[in-house]
Symmetry: C2
Subunit: 263 residues, 2 copies
Amino acid sequence: MPRYKLTIEYDGEPFVGWQRQHNGLSIQGALEDAVFAFCGERVSVIGAGRTDAGVHARGQVAHFDITHEKPTDTVRSALNFHLKPHPIVVVQAEPAPANFHARFSATWRRYRYRIINRRAPPALDRGQFWHVPVPLDAAAMADAASVLVGHHDFNSFRSTACQSPSAIKTLDLLEVSRNGNEITIDVGARSFLHNQVRILAGTLQFVGRGQWSRRDVEEALAARDRTRAGPTAPPQGLCFMEVRYDLGPGRHRNDAEETIDDQ
Amino acid sequence: MPRYKLTIEYDGEPFVGWQRQHNGLSIQGALEDAVFAFCGERVSVIGAGRTDAGVHARGQVAHFDITHEKPTDTVRSALNFHLKPHPIVVVQAEPAPANFHARFSATWRRYRYRIINRRAPPALDRGQFWHVPVPLDAAAMADAASVLVGHHDFNSFRSTACQSPSAIKTLDLLEVSRNGNEITIDVGARSFLHNQVRILAGTLQFVGRGQWSRRDVEEALAARDRTRAGPTAPPQGLCFMEVRYDLGPGRHRNDAEETIDDQ
């Protein structure tokens, strides 16, 4: 059966999240319905990460199998035709080998969290920011972020509903930058714990407000206790930017890390 | 009478444009209504540029006068409260001297035109791009853009409805850059002719497609004839980014250039 790899962009606002659910429209469900409308086959579309309700994507990756091979241009344009009522777009469709798995083959994921930091709420990109009206010190946030980079037990930084057996992860990238009124938090790792990126953002926001020091972040990490970290930042500020499948230096596909990735 | 200077962000999509009109809701009208709701006075809100229907702003500037002085924080938050149904936000309110005029005192304006250049349409920021599905050569566009920078007669690059008595303008900035699938055109001048930025974008797009050379752009400029330049690019790709009121080197407030600025 031919396998296809899709790169997908979506506005998460109207959806219950990536995963097909009974209580509303999911991105996965919309894609599976589009595949059915296109070729009459009921398939599973497997995503690299299961984004929560309201979370966006610019570079979600997914795969699915169909019985008969089709040109990738046809796959992309037919799916986009059937997805038209929804803010979901297939940016790219590629043939993929049978052993390619959007979720388990992923070696790197990058998310971006965006804060609009001014008194006035946003008028443009309304649904793509966490609006924090009090001034945040982005330099202090960037400094505290460096505490969290590396190989750690992130038990303080995952949802209590997280299903991963281990909270040990390697955070490769956690960068905070300010451009005018916008603060951007870029986060990269092989994989993440449930809500990890939003809890990192909520915690760094405490530092930005001056309520927490770098030392408080160190203590929150060491505590391995969800109640010791900051709040889970709202979903609309989060965007799934990129998934990589290359095996970088020092990386092995049988790396012991889990690849549950629910943001 | 106290005068206030506002910095305003808006999504142009639902509006007939900046200017108050009988056929629908304008940004100016919504602001004037918000001032009335706030203090009971019917004022004129004068903008630095009269953006066309569908054109956005991140840094439109406007001024108005009211009878009694109010704290600027109150002005900003009260206007934002009354503007809430609309995608218009007052980012900043400042006191302004009686001789400050949002349109006539402006010494520099900057616009950004955004093209999404890929087969698939956008899912995020849907209303903020011109979708060009055929590959554009951004380097060729950047090269041809340099032909247009400087002091020229831009008669080929203005709407036939343009009311400016002269088409002679100084284009200070015309930069084309690519970031992934997005092409950004940054345009800056003391003032612009009607639809000038969108016609510049439509013309450079011909170069990007390989239909036009740098030489064709030179000829279009020299012709001083609207029919010789490219099409007017669609409004939703355009955003009014910034207005400056400083008198930079070599600039004088009585500069002979007109300050009509309808984009």
